[in-house]
């Protein structure tokens, strides 16, 4: 019987290696896999490249992972925000690398990785600092930038409901980066609020089919607002 549920955080984190490219779902606090990020902190992998929309806030979660010196490089669209104190300090000290990617390009690069598209042209960023050094080409008289797929070794994502096949739904705006990160990583690990029986998700409403999911950990009733406060 296929059963992607794991019963411990250790099992969920097994095999994440030093140097891994880790995709972290969520936008702000919403849809962010907080328990799994804490699990990654405990697991110990280092020299990580983290792909996320933000560069962490406060001193928990991704910020804590960075504070522990475990993150070599951040790829994100929104590094600097009110609470990004850890990132700011590391970045000023030259202790962390940063790649800023426009948010839509970030999303599309991961979707491309999941879809077997190694590169694509986009109008976003053409003629700006973020396109410097990149190949460009005109289409219909407009400059476009060639962007590469961004695959992950691991994705940590949050779902609302999951079944043993790894089928997922998301709640409202907690969908955000989670489905595309699930596609883009070789190993996709999910924390879900609700675990449902096989067949408990209607086939038409499944957003992420289990083919994109490797492990599911049931972490009920995490409220995104509880950790609120920043407006990154």
């Amino acid at each position: 019987m296929i059963d992607k549920f794991v019963t411990s955080m250790e099992e969920a984190m097994a095999g994440i290696r030093d140097g891994a490219v880790v995709l972290l779902g969520g936008f702000g606090m919403v849809g962010q896999p907080d328990a799994l990020i804490d699990g990654l902190i405990a697991q110990g992998a280092k020299d990580l490249t983290v792909v996320a929309n933000n560069a962490g806030t406060g001193h928990t979660g991704l910020a804590r992972l960075m504070e522990l010196g475990r993150v070599r490089r951040v790829i994100c669209s929104f590094p600097r925000s009110a609470g990004s104190v850890v990132f700011e300090a590391l970045y000023s000290a030259g202790q962390i690398e940063l790649e800023i990617v426009p948010q839509g390009t970030l999303a599309e690069r991961m979707r491309a990785a999941g879809a077997g598209i190694p590169a694509f042209f986009t109008p976003t960023g053409a003629g700006t600092r973020l396109a410097e050094g990149k190949e460009t080409r005109e289409f219909d008289g407009r400059t476009h930038v060639l962007e590469n797929a961004l695959p992950g070794d691991v994705a940590l994502i949050e779902a609302w409901r999951a079944d043993r096949f790894g089928n997922l739904t998301f709640r409202e705006s907690a969908r955000n980066f989670n489905p595309i990160m699930a596609m883009a990583a070789r190993l996709t690990i999910v924390q879900t609020q609700h675990a449902v029986f096989a067949g408990g998700l209607h086939p038409e409403v499944i957003v992420t089919p289990g083919i994109f999911v490797d492990r599911v950990l049931h972490v009920p009733y995490a409220m995104p607002v509880e950790k609120g406060g920043e407006n990154a």
């Binding site: 929104f78 600097r80 948010q103 976003t124 960023g125 700006t128 973020l130 489905p179 995104p224």
Partner: protein, 221 residues
Amino acid sequence: MPDTAPLSVMALNRHGIAARIARDIPEGWYVNLGIGIPTLVAEHVPAEREVIFHSENGVLGVGPSPPSGAVDPWLINAGKQPVTLRPGGSYVHHADSFAIIRGGHLDLCVLGAFEVAENGDIANWATKKNDAAAAVGGAMDLAAGARRLWVAMEHTTKDGMPRLVARCTYPLTAQGVVKRVYTNLAVLDVTPRGFVVVEMVRGLDFESLQAQTDARLHQAA
């Protein structure tokens, strides 16, 4: 009549700019509003005029902020503020959300800016020329992708420096994309000839507006 004392200039405040923009948004448009003055635009669209607001984080049909007792923690906008969903609203993931943006499906995006140039260039993300960690978010996608890009901003900086310029001096967000600028002083179209003044606030004359503008202004034909 013979009174020659100058009328006082009725500069708009932030809500005034937002309300002015709202007047120009017809029913049925799909609209993304940036942070700052643009966010206020939604409040000024009359409830009976159906305009569908999009947020980069995958929300179509964004409604007003909920009352403080009724916040849904899973429903935020791109500015990370709690919002509501209107009937007919829906959710998409980030790649689809930016497919909406980049694919030209938004009738309008309204952004704030540091500078807009007479060639339609916009600079709105990096405040310092060599801030390598500036946060771009979805600004470049929105600027490049929306069918129409309007900018809402103060006509000058707090120090009185012009923000409508011949050429942008801040790092660009996108090239040649701004169609219209709404400031506290005027509404200006970006045309092949440069900025054309569509209207000015009461009490302001063209020369005074030009004096607060780096780029050369043109009067509507």
